[in-house]
Amino acid sequence: MRLGTVRFSEAVLKEVEALFARYPVKVNALLPLLHMAQRENGGWLQPGWDSYIAELCGTTLNHVRGVITFYNMYRTSAPGKYHIMVCTCLPCGLCGGAEVMEHLEKRLGIHAGETTGDGMFSLEEVQCLAACDQAPLMVVNEDMQKRITLEQIDRWVEDTRAKKA
């Protein structure tokens, strides 16, 4: 995409103004601003958004790219329609999280960090989600599924695939 061709809608720009008003200087709002850009663009930062955001909050493109690559949650490629996060950290990993991850990789035919060819599912291995008493966990988009079993995962994958067909 050519530089200068992406921008927020007028309605979102109002939201941006309200956000800037909560901070002493505009660049302080960079993290929430990047979240907003992802939310408006299918969950990832398409080309051009980094420089647009830099311009909006009066900083350099380098600064924005540095921030995007430092934090786990900012994506520079498209996630699947269903983005799945699995915690394999202590103690989830020892209470079934590792098996959940392995099972999903096999079931979906992709590795952690990849997206299925049809763009339906993407899989991410994450660290502690602060719900360790509910292990093992699977988070689909924003929906946290607690104490999940491998059978439940199979059913969910089948149902979700059937929905599409």
Binding site: L30, Y74, L94, C95, Q127, C128, L129, C132, E142
Partner: protein, 422 residues
């Protein structure tokens, strides 16, 4: 099951408690903020918190009132820098979930504590830094703040006192290191979250180089009780240097994982057996980590100790953020070490060479044990490499990873020997 001592979770344990402002008010909520604003000077508030002996619940256990007293005392004039209070709600230490329980179940309690803190430190704007992976917590706390603006308890001229206060929820974006207070301030400024060298301490130069204090969610949730019931009533819980109650997260191989509230100094063995129902499936205990992934591991025969800051430090480990992770007799401690070092390697910010490189190489060494390719020399190399991170980094992350890894090697060398090359 043992009785909980309820101070932080008193509302959450009530059947059907909604957590909205009306429900909170019905339980007497809001009275502490009103008392501070209309009947106490900021200095009196700080003195009261000091007297309570409250220590920070985020991990370090620094006395909260003393921290508050480091802030400049005067009301910032028009030419002076504003003061800030930042609430650390970036709970991400593996095993820790108590701040989420507080934020989701009774958000108004810690927010009231934060409002009191802002008044005491003459801050007119506070930020609540919540990790981005918890959209449910962000929404919940934002809704609570919206209610307070509607009730005119936030904004300009609150309760006719002339005091102004705004609170803003700031989402993180997935970086464990941002739970370190100076990294959090960088992140709040819109930068990569890299810990800063101290001094200057945040009370001199924090958010945007202005005087700033950072407090954990649970720490702030204690403040309303201390103001309404008095510092002595608070100090009646717990023991002398470890006052109050604590919300402890228990996970891993136990019958009833979750968050339980008890006196500071409650016996660790009793927490496992009487609160969490003991080890899952009637198995024997092998080890536990008492304070999040950063705390050195304890063997089953070492856990008959009071669970508080000082006792655990004496036992060679730490209470940290009060996250107990339990491992049964079938657990391979090499696998525990593997998951721990993978976490730390993933989350190292990369600023200091010993931590960035050390976590990477130790991860590879542990993986060799996983492939049954270890030997005695490699085992002592893990120990030495971990030791080389301790004390050589800007922030406490290096000490944490070094201490935790050395703990596994020292306490469970036989588990590593099972993975020696045959």
């Amino acid at each position: 099951m043992a009785e909980e001592k309820l101070l932080l979770l008193k509302n959450i344990r009530q059947q059907g408690y909604g957590g909205d402002y009306a429900s909170y008010k019905k339980t007497g909520g809001g009275a502490a903020f009103k008392k501070a604003l209309t009947g106490m000077t900021p200095a009196e508030v700080i003195e009261t918190v000091k007297e309570s002996g409250l220590r920070g619940r985020g991990g370090a256990g620094f006395p909260c009132g003393v921290k508050w007293s480091f802030m400049p005392k005067d009301l910032p004039g028009p030419d002076q820098k504003p003061h800030y209070l930042v609430c650390n709600a970036d709970e991400a230490e593996p095993g820790t979930l108590k701040d989420h329980v507080l934020m989701l179940g009774d958000p108004h309690m810690f927010i009231e504590g934060m409002m009191i803190g802002c008044y005491a430190m003459r801050s007119t704007h506070g930020y609540i830094y919540i990790r981005g992976e918890s959209p449910h917590a962000i929404r919940r706390v934002q809704a609570a703040i919206d209610e307070l603006y509607k009730a005119k308890l936030l904004g300009k001229n609150i309760l006719g006192s002339g005091v102004q206060l705004d609170l803003t929820v700031h989402p993180g974006a997935g970086a464990y290191i941002c739970g370190e207070e100076t990294a959090m301030l960088d992140s709040l400024e819109g930068k990569r979250g890299l810990p800063r060298s101290k001094p200057p301490f945040p009370a001199q130069s924090g958010f945007n180089a202005c005087p700033t204090t950072v407090n954990n969610v649970e720490t702030l949730a204690n403040i309303p009780f201390i103001l309404t019931e008095g510092p002595k009533a608070f100090a009646a819980f717990g023991s002398e240097n470890n006052t109050g109650t604590q919300a402890v997260s228990i996970s891993g191989h136990v019958e009833k994982p979750g968050v339980y509230e008890m006196d500071m100094g409650h016996n660790l063995k009793s927490i496992l057996e009487d609160f969490a129902g003991g080890v899952r499936g009637g198995k024997k205990l092998k080890a536990l980590i008492p304070g999040g992934a950063s705390a050195p591991v304890m063997r089953a025969d070492e856990i008959d100790v009071p669970y508080d800051f000082d006792s655990l430090m004496k036992a060679g480990t730490m209470r940290g953020s009060a996250a107990i992770m339990v491992f049964d007799e079938d657990t391979d401690m090499v696998e525990v070490a593997n998951r721990t070092i993978r976490f730390f390697n993933h989350e190292s910010c990369g600023q200091c060479t010993p931590c960035r490189e050390g976590t990477f190489w130790i991860k590879n060494m542990i993986r060799q044990f996983g492939d049954d390719a270890g030997d005695e020399a490699l085992l002592s190399l893990v120990h030495r490499a971990a030791g080389n991170i301790i004390g050589t980094t800007i922030c406490a992350f290096g000490d944490a990873v070094g201490g935790a890894l050395q703990g596994f090697v020292q306490k469970f060398p036989e588990d590593f020997r099972n993975h020696f090359q045959s």
